[in-house]
């Protein structure tokens, strides 16, 4: 049989969907309790939304799914959403800008071409955006929210890595290179090429001493950033605001006993980031990331509004959680067998199943293919007395009943 599934696209079967929903539910529950409101944006957006702000690097733009829509005679291209944050920012600017503070969350798919077709071209992510708050507390709130969800999902060996795009941009400005070269270097860093930063040391005498300390060492406390500040501010005083911002954030994380690693080279992500950025790992798997993007909303034509956000990568989390039962626990599953297919028995069976479902059970009719082992209970509906025979497969016990109320009573209702 020829493979008919599109290259780079995956189906989510029942077991996958159970995991997917478990992640989504844990995420929704946390977000709602932290005061975030759910949004959903369209799958199609104008391409210019993503080009207008320098929001995606050219390398990423070359991998988006863009095309002319049915009314695209003007040459305006549309794109399958390649990122969740920019549509959320568009939504905020378009209809909610009067709000001083907007807290959004979403579970959405994003599309990005991947050459081999062995990796996913459609990915799912749980995203959150905190628009209108520019304080270190806001950054820490997002980090703690992301960590809470990972905790709920019992993800093991979670590591948090922190970097600061403001510091990197400050360093690039100190190099004797053109703005275009700065942009290119910045793109390389965002594409995950941490070496591009370390190679900078030789480009500037001022940076030669400071950079190895900044890039090679991985700190684990606010003390590390404070030490860097003492060292860097003498040579590079313009970095002081970024360093103070970074210190305030890691101070708060220390207070909350949230463990992290500071790794300035771990700054991959989106071009719209301006301040602290973070990556979340489970072992070696990157399962999420986010950061501050204060310049994005004004660049998109909105007011000068600070903002930050994150995304958890659902596809990777699905590989890390247990499957659970495909549809509810076995203890609440009942398999109904209809002995006689006369009208009265069929009608009584459907009524019984409806009552069981409204009492919280999963009631399935036996179609000959279910595995009884997946059910704690079986219920035979008979054409003669006793009308019902209920079997508790765990306790290996059979009991008889003559009406629905008696069945429910046997089940403890």
């Amino acid at each position: 049989m020829t493979e008919q599934r599109c290259k780079g696209c995956w189906d989510l079967g029942p077991d996958d969907m159970t995991k997917f929903r478990a992640i989504e539910e844990a995420y929704r529950d946390s977000c709602l309790k932290w005061g975030y409101k759910e949004i959903r944006t369209p799958t199609l957006e104008y391409l210019h939304l993503f080009t207008s702000t320098g929001t995606l690097t050219p390398a990423r733009l070359n991998k988006v799914y863009s095309f002319l829509d049915w009314d695209g005679w003007s040459g305006e291209r549309v794109v399958l959403r390649p990122d969740g944050t920019i549509p959320a920012a568009r939504l905020y600017i378009g209809s909610m800008e009067e709000k001083v503070l907007a807290k959004f969350f979403y579970v959405t798919n994003i599309f990005m071409f991947e050459e081999t077709g062995r990796e996913k071209r459609e990915k799912w992510q749980c995203g959150a955006e905190l628009i209108g708050a520019g304080s270190p507390l806001a950054d820490v709130e997002l980090i703690m929210l992301a960590c809470e969800v990972l905790g709920k999902l019992e993800i093991k060996d979670v590591k948090l890595k922190l970097s600061h795009i403001g510091l990197i941009r400050g360093l690039l400005k100190k190099l004797d290179i053109t703005p275009a070269e700065q942009d290119r270097l910045f793109e390389q860093i965002l594409e995950g090429n941490g070496d591009a930063l370390t190679k900078l040391a030789a480009r500037s005498p001022e940076l030669e001493k400071a950079l190895p300390l900044l890039l090679d060492l991985k700190g684990q406390s606010s003390g590390f950033v404070k030490n860097l500040k003492v060292l860097l501010v003498r040579e590079l005083p313009e970095l002081e605001p970024e360093l103070n911002d970074f210190i305030a954030i890691v101070d708060l994380l220390d207070t909350l006993e949230c463990r992290y690693q500071i790794d300035i080279t771990a700054a991959s992500g989106f071009e719209y980031y301006t301040g602290v950025t973070f990556q979340l790992f489970a072992g070696d798997d990157e399962v999420g990331g986010g950061g501050r993007y204060d310049a994005l909303i004004p660049l998109m034509g909105g007011k000068d509004t600070p903002a930050s956000g994150f995304a958890l990568y659902v596809d990777r989390l699905m590989d890390l959680i247990e499957a659970g039962h495909p549809a509810g626990s076995r203890a609440h599953r009942i398999l109904l067998s209809i002995d006689s297919h006369d009208r009265a028995s069929v009608s009584e069976s459907f009524n019984m199943a409806r009552l069981l479902r409204s009492s919280g059970y999963i009631a399935e009719f036996s179609l000959g293919a279910q595995r009884p082992a997946d059910f704690r209970w079986t219920l035979d509906v008979r054409g003669k007395a006793p009308r019902f025979v209920l079997t508790d497969r765990t306790k290996r016990k059979k009991t008889e009943a003559n009406n629905a109320d008696e069945v429910l009573a046997l089940l403890g209702h």
Binding site: H48, T51, S52, T53, P58, W70, D71, W73, R77
Partner: protein, 474 residues
């Protein structure tokens, strides 16, 4: 082992023929004006050589229809920039056909840096839409639109586009009052191989004859004029009252001139011996540009032109892609009559669409439909339930694709003789197309522009009626 090679027609043909002659391939018939598309090599008797439009060659090699191909690097990159995983190996720069691909703007235009920081839409016209989009992304243009064209991009700036991505080989920019603002690509003739063929077939004997392994002998570039003479401009192009008329280039020019003459409309330098694409028309308030008929429906729809003389086939192609395009067929001009037909090889045992459907039913390989009209071809295959199919876009000489490289063509024909000459047969007629005067539905009723348009329609209508009463050939 048979080796299949795709060779270019057009600008690279002469140098490619010289290269292969020097290589001792002893080709029969690979020369300018060739009426057939298949050639044989006396030196390599098993080799299959076929003639293609340059633009088709990278696609044909990438899909595996040909082991090797020769074409410009510009067309290779046009494919690779959009489809980087295409199965192509760039084997060798052949050193001739050097030509830069550059972004050109009018002399008075803002600089690229200004365009970068500009919030307005930057319009880019090009035959290379994929390279144009990539160029815009790398330039960090904030908001851009790309007009994919069949040709004539040089006439678009500054009124109908801000930038044109042009090949030096086909256009001398200064002649059009344009200046190259940035070189996008330095192109020359390249030998390309299909990746699988390269990995699995022994092509060494063929390759060694054309000096693969040796450094390319670069031919000097033709020097281009640097005199920056301002080109023609239409200062009132975008005035509310100005009617912007698109006239066709190519073989439809003769018919268009006859029609205008019959209508008593004076037009100067059309067709132009010097390549002038802005002829002067003797109607007040009307300005003219000469563009490709294939591009006209989109250009009327997007508001760059108010009227155009094009073919109904291209109008339909536009409407199949963009059904709500604001365009309207104002007048049947009766000339340029062609039939759009479905064509298969004479060898196939089918005489109509139903027969073809039965023939392809249960076949695991998708039906390959080649056409210049990709949206018409797509709809035809879909509506006739021709099983799984793939539409192969072509850029002319589509009949060369059957039977090796396609199973079905959707093609236009005047008399059917070319189709018969290539051992093909027509199994269906989709529709008959003639030239038409195309207008926009977005016009402001009662405006001066609309009055001028109405008057042009009436004048041409009278001319068409008079012409249709004349005996054929008069």
């Amino acid at each position: 082992m048979s080796i299949k090679i795709a060779l270019p027609k057009g600008r690279l043909l002469r140098d490619t023929a010289a290269l292969l002659e020097k290589a001792g391939w002893e080709l029969c018939g690979y020369e300018e004006g060739a009426r057939f598309y298949r050639f044989e090599s006396r030196r390599f008797p098993g080799m299959l050589l076929k003639l293609f439009h340059e633009k088709d060659i990278p696609i044909q090699v990438a899909v595996g229809n040909y082991d090797l191909g020769i074409c410009g690097l510009d067309w290779i990159e046009e494919l690779l920039v959009r489809y980087p995983s295409s199965a192509l190996v760039k084997v060798k720069d052949l050193g001739y056909g050097a030509s830069d691909l550059y972004a050109a703007a009018s002399l008075e235009a803002t600089t690229l840096d200004e365009m970068r920081s500009n919030l307005d839409v930057v319009r880019i016209a090009s035959e290379y839409p994929n390279l144009a989009e990539s160029f815009a992304a790398h330039l960090r243009l904030r908001h851009f639109k790309v007009y994919p064209l069949w040709g004539g991009a040089e006439v678009y700036p500054p009124e109908s586009a801000d930038l044109a991505l042009l090949s030096e080989a086909t256009v001398e920019p200064f002649a059009y009052g344009l200046v190259p603002t940035k070189t996008v690509l330095s192109s020359s003739a390249f030998l390309v191989a299909n990746k699988t063929s390269w990995e699995t077939k022994d092509l060494s004997e063929v390759l060694s004859t054309i000096g693969v392994g040796a450094l390319p002998a670069k031919k000097p570039r033709a020097t281009t004029s640097s005199a920056q003479t301002p080109g023609q401009r239409y200062s009132g192009w975008n005035d509310d009252d100005t009617v912007r008329l698109a006239l066709p280039d190519g073989h439809q020019q003769v018919h268009a001139v006859k029609l205008l003459s019959e209508a008593g409309i004076r037009i100067e330098d059309y067709p132009s011996k010097t390549g002038n694409r802005r002829p002067c028309i003797g109607i007040e308030g009307v300005v003219v540009k000469v563009i490709r008929p294939q591009d006209m429906p989109m250009q009327v729809a997007n508001g760059n032109f108010d009227l155009a003389i094009t073919g109904k086939d291209w109008v339909r192609e536009q409407l199949y892609q963009f059904p709500s395009s604001p365009i309207v067929d104002l007048l049947d001009l009766k000339f340029g009559r062609v039939r759009l037909v479905a064509v298969i090889s004479k060898e196939l045992p089918a005489n109509d669409t139903l027969g073809l459907r039965q023939l392809v039913e249960g076949r695991s390989a998708p039906l390959r439909v080649a056409s210049e009209y990709i949206n018409i071809a797509d709809r035809y295959a879909r509506e006739n339930h021709l099983g799984p199919y793939r539409v192969i876009p072509t850029w002319g000489a589509t009949e060369a694709f059957l039977p090796e490289d396609a199973d079905l063509l959707i093609e236009n024909t005047e008399t059917g003789s070319t189709i018969a000459r290539h051992n093909l047969k027509i199994i269906d007629e989709l529709f008959v197309s003639t030239a038409c005067l195309l207008g926009s539905t977005n016009g402001k009723p009662g405006s001066r522009k609309q009055q001028t348009i109405r008057s042009i329609v009436e004048t041409l209508k009278g001319a068409v009626e008079r012409m249709s009463q004349k005996p054929e050939g008069a």
